[in-house]
Every structure is written in structure tokens, then in C-alpha cells.
Symmetry: C2
Subunit: 329 residues, 2 copies
């Protein structure tokens, strides 16, 4: 079912206002949720909205909380998210990192005690819109075993890298698990197999069955031992730089609340030379012959733009059941 973007946003706004959000914050949060669905990241748009409401009702996300500064030195700063809405905290930190980068060439903001930022790509797009390169990441609750182990001890710690580009920003937004749990649930709900193995079943065999992976809790890190190591170091960076809670502590607390995040922005040289370098890289990548006839090579963020255009023209796709649920909130 297709819904106009504005309708989606205004419904989210209505619900958030009823939960004690101020007008500005309600609109800001609603915009992010609506934009995530608009861009095709349904798992962190409409589909996630009911959980967000539940977290607010349980006191795990505090609508009125504002980030407070814990420290800073030169081009780095530490903030406390005070369990405020993760998207607002993350937008704030990105804005701070942009300012620091404009002053110092590079800036780094770490935040502790914040909540789920929904789609990490949101902050990559934000920085790229401002003309900045962005590297940001978050830790999460443990949902992936380390390489060689069977119990989940690592988060899927999404990593975002964004590069501003005239013809459409390049925004990589990748969780360190091969498939996010949102994706696994999506495939499971459609009764479909994954295109490639995404984890292990209870017997320890690699499998494309999303239900088996959800059951075993043995989701696969990208690149096996490599993603396992990458997830660990991202947790280390987020935790050490923010002096916040690690995946270990968040997991032991029992709910994904009070996570740690890092936002690094860098000011690139702008102008024709840079534009040319970027196009050269993208054109070269796209010059690889496609594996399947009629196939196409995409850069990260390219499909997001296509989906965005389509959503704004034809309406944003929504899951009817969840949409009805939100209308009734």
C-alpha cells in the first residue's frame, strides 16, 4: 500500500505529540521515521515505529532529554545522551562533528547513554548534505557470536561512511552482520530463503533459512573472522571514546538502551578536481561487465536515491498491518 510522504510524517508527528514530545522534536523524529521508509529502509521507518513508542512507554527512551557535554579537547568532544531519542542525539552529534570539522578540518564526537539511532545512514546523508565526509558507528546489543564461538557476544554495530557528491552522495550503511535482524525477519515473514548464507542453524551448519538463524541466534558476520574482528573494534572505539556502555553492558542490562556512538566528520577539498576524482572512481567501478545480462553495478546510496524519487512521486510503501496499528495509536 502506498501512502504520501506527508501523510506518513504527520501521523508519526501526531503520535509523538501525544507521547509528550515538544512540537519541534516531534516533527524532527517523525521526519526521520518517514524518510527512512521513503528511502526504502522500512525496517527502521514505519516498521520500527511501534517499538519506538513502546520504548518510550517503558521509559527506555526519554522524549524531553537533551544531550549534555561531558568533555572535549581540540577537535574531539564527549557527550551524554541522557537516554534521549537516539535519532535526535545522533543528528545533534553529527551537527557538532560538522562544526568541529569546519573549524579543524576533522572533528570527532562520541556519545554515551544514547538510544537506537534507527537508520545509521540518516547521519551519513546529513553530513554529506553539508558537504562533509562522515564516518560513524554505534554499538548494539549482542546479536552475533564472535568467530569460533556460538553464543552471541558481539553487536552488529552498523558502520556508515558517506562521501558528498554532486550527482548524489555515496553513503555506505552496513551492519556488520551479513543480514540485519530486520532483514531476517522480513524474509521470514515472507517465507523466503536468503539469497546467501546468513548464519548457522542449531546444528551448526551454514544456512539460508532466516527462521533457523533467528532460532540459533548465530548470525554471520561479514567476511567471517574479519567482520567478527571489525565488530569488536567498533565496540571498543565507541565505548572507549564515549566512556560509555559496551555491547557487554548493554546486553547484560537486557534491553538495547544506553548505547555508545562515534561521529567523525572530515572537510574534503571542494572543486572540480575533487568532483572529477569521484566520478572517475564511480565510472571505473561501473565499467565492470555485469555478471548477469542486463545487470548493473550500483554504488552505495544509488538505490536509495532511486527509491526516494519513486516514493516521493508514487507514495511511500507501507505494510498495511503496521500502518493500521500506527493509525490506531
Amino acid at each position: 500500500m502506498l501512502i504520501p510522504f506527508e501523510k506518513l510524517r504527520s501521523e508519526f508527528t501526531r503520535v509523538l505529540l501525544s507521547l509528550g514530545f515538544g512540537e519541534e522534536k516531534a516533527l524532527q523524529c517523525a521526519t526521520i521515521f518517514a524518510e527512512n521508509s521513503r528511502d526504502g529502509v522500512y525496517t527502521h521507518g514505519l516498521n520500527r515505529f511501534p517499538t519506538f513508542v513502546q520504548y518510550i512507554n517503558e521509559g527506555l527512551v526519554i522524549p524531553a532529554a537533551e544531550p549534555t557535554k561531558e568533555g572535549g579537547f581540540g577537535a574531539i568532544e564527549q557527550w551524554n545522551g541522557n537516554l534521549g531519542p537516539g535519532m535526535l542525539n545522533a543528528q545533534f552529534c553529527t551537527e557538532r562533528a560538522i562544526s568541529l570539522a569546519k573549524e579543524n578540518g576533522i572533528g570527532c564526537v562520541a556519545i554515551k547513554n544514547t538510544s537506537h539511532w534507527m537508520r545509521g545512514g540518516t547521519y551519513g546523508w546529513q553530513a554529506a548534505e553539508a558537504g562533509l565526509i562522515c564516518i560513524c558507528f554505534t554499538n548494539t546489543i549482542a546479536n552475533m557470536p564472535p568467530w569460533g564461538g556460538i553464543d552471541p557476544r558481539l553487536g552488529n554495530n552498523p558502520l556508515i561512511i558517506a562521501v558528498p557528491r554532486k550527482e548524489g552522495h555515496v553513503v555506505l550503511d552496513m551492519a556488520i552482520s551479513q543480514y540485519s535482524f530486520g532483514k531476517l525477519n522480513l524474509y521470514k515473514s515472507k517465507n523466503e530463503q536468503l539469497p546467501l548464507p546468513g548464519g548457522y542453524d542449531m546444528e551448526g551448519n551454514l544456512t539460508t533459512d532466516p527462521a533457523a538463524i533467528i532460532e540459533s541466534q548465530r548470525s554471520l558476520p561479514v567476511g567471517f573472522w574479519k567482520g567478527s574482528g571489525l565488530s569488536l573494534v567498533l565496540d571498543l572505539l565507541a565505548t572507549v571514546l564515549s566512556q560509555g556502555q559496551s555491547t557487554a553492558v548493554v546486553t547484560n542490562n537486557g534491553s538495547e538502551s544506553g548505547v555508545s556512538q562515534v561521529f567523525i566528520c572530515i572537510q574534503p577539498k571542494t572543486g572540480l578536481q575533487t568532483d572529477t576524482l569521484i566520478e572517475e572512481i564511480i565510472d571505473y567501478t561501473k565499467s565492470s561487465r555485469p555478471e548477469n545480462e542486463g545487470g548493473e553495478i550500483f554504488y552505495p546510496g544509488e538505490n536509495t536515491l532511486r527509491t526516494r524519487e519513486k516514493s516521493l512521486k508514487d507514495g511511500v510503501w507501507v505494510d498495511e498491518v503496521i500502518w493500521e496499528k500506527v493509525l490506531g495509536l
Copy 2:
């Protein structure tokens, strides 16, 4: 065959002196090659040394060249490597990034026109020894197809992330291909299959046969489409920040020379609190039950330390054929 570390280093030094290296630079380069073998990264230690010598003889690496500053603003700097030895340029840039981070909390150095840095982990260890967090990466010649394509258009662009730690630094050193070409050649030379699929054969099937992957030139990125995107954005960052040559240009030049690299260092808060956070993360990760009885979960860098200790005690493992070759240089 096992060789004392000092013997390995002095042989490398002897050869480098004969190639026109000054005493200090010869020792510095020789130390890096010897340490790479000492730490178990044979593909970028002894095994790579003859190729390094060949590059010097072909004029692709210029022993006496020094990096020159191209620009800088606040906590970021751009340098030109002038085709000097990649390891010396990389150590220099790491040192600069450390200084910038000590002054500004974070520092970023980009270098263009440099040569192969051998083991990227070298610079992660260097920064961690100085107490700094380090994120660094390089572009390379194209050796991996983008996701959905069959012609190599992406480099395996190694990414290094290091976190200083009292009990042994955490150093992730990962190329974006599932297996490096060094590893593929190693398996091929031993007539062994890879433990997991590492690319495609000429028919487009995933395979564990290293020879088939070398033939097809279709090495697999970590996490399929994710690693493909990650490789692309690392090339974008390295090229844009250094205003240097992209993987496209390096590849078109025909030899892996004049690559672009980025070194970011961050000053973490030091003290008991940080030490505790780090140990908590490592202990938690290791608390996952092992997949195989008697198995163990390792953090990135842990095995490096074990191999280092063993090499210093018993001698550094060398491939006899290559060792003889170096003795004859």
C-alpha cells in the same frame, strides 16, 4: 626453516644498502620486513622482499625520496610520497597523525603518490605503541570485481583499526577481499583448498580452489555487496583526501605504484576506567562458548603477539627458497 630475527634484519639491511638506501632508511625498512615475518605476516615480510627489490630496480620505488607537504588545515594534512618506500612514508604519516592527535585530540594525514606499505598492521601497532587509536587504509590496484560484476574494478584496500591496550594492543588488519592474493598464492603453493569460499571460478561458481580464483581474478569481497561498497568508499576517501590516484588510475598505469593512503589517529582518555572498559569487552567476547571443543576466541592482534613471542624465542620461520634468494641478492 627458522632464522634468528637479527639475522633476517641484517640480511635485509645489507641488500637495501647495496640498492642505494642510506643507513638509517635501510635499517628502518629492514626492520619492518623482518618484523612482518616475525609477526607471522610472511606474505609481506620475507616473501615480499624480492618484489620490493625488483620495484626499486624498475624505478617504481625511489629509495631516497622524502615525503613533501602539499597542504594542511587544522588537524588534517596532505602529503606527497614522491614514490618513496611505502613503509617509510606510512611510518612518517602515522607519526604526523599521532602529533596532530596529541595537539587536537584527533589528526588525519592523507598521502598521495606513495608505494605499497606492505603490512598495514605495522602502522596500527606503531600508533598503539604511542598510546593512540588509529584508523588507516590504502587503495591498491584493482583485484576484485564490484558486486554484480565480473571484471576487477576494486582494490582490496586494507583497513586497519588499532586500539592501545596494556595487556597487548588490539590491531585489526583486514583487506576487503575475503582472502588476500598472498594468502591465495600460499594455499595454491601448498596445493590446499581454502577453508571457505574465496571467490568465483571461470564458470561463475563460488569456489574454495585458490588456483581457480587466481585464474578468474574474481576474488570475493567480505560480506559480498557490503565489502564491495566498503572497498569503493575507502578508495573514495583515500583519493579525495589525498587528491591522489584512485584504484582506477593506479590500475590503468599497470603497476601498483603511486597509491593513496589515509591515517587517522585519536587520543583516547587514559587511565583505569578505560583499561576496565577494554578488558570488559574482551572478556565478554571470549566468554562465548567455543564452536569446537577446546577452541578459543581470539581478539584481533592476539595471535600476532603469540607468533611474535615464539619467533623471538625460537627464530622466525622462513621459506627456504625465498631465503636463499635473498642471501644471493
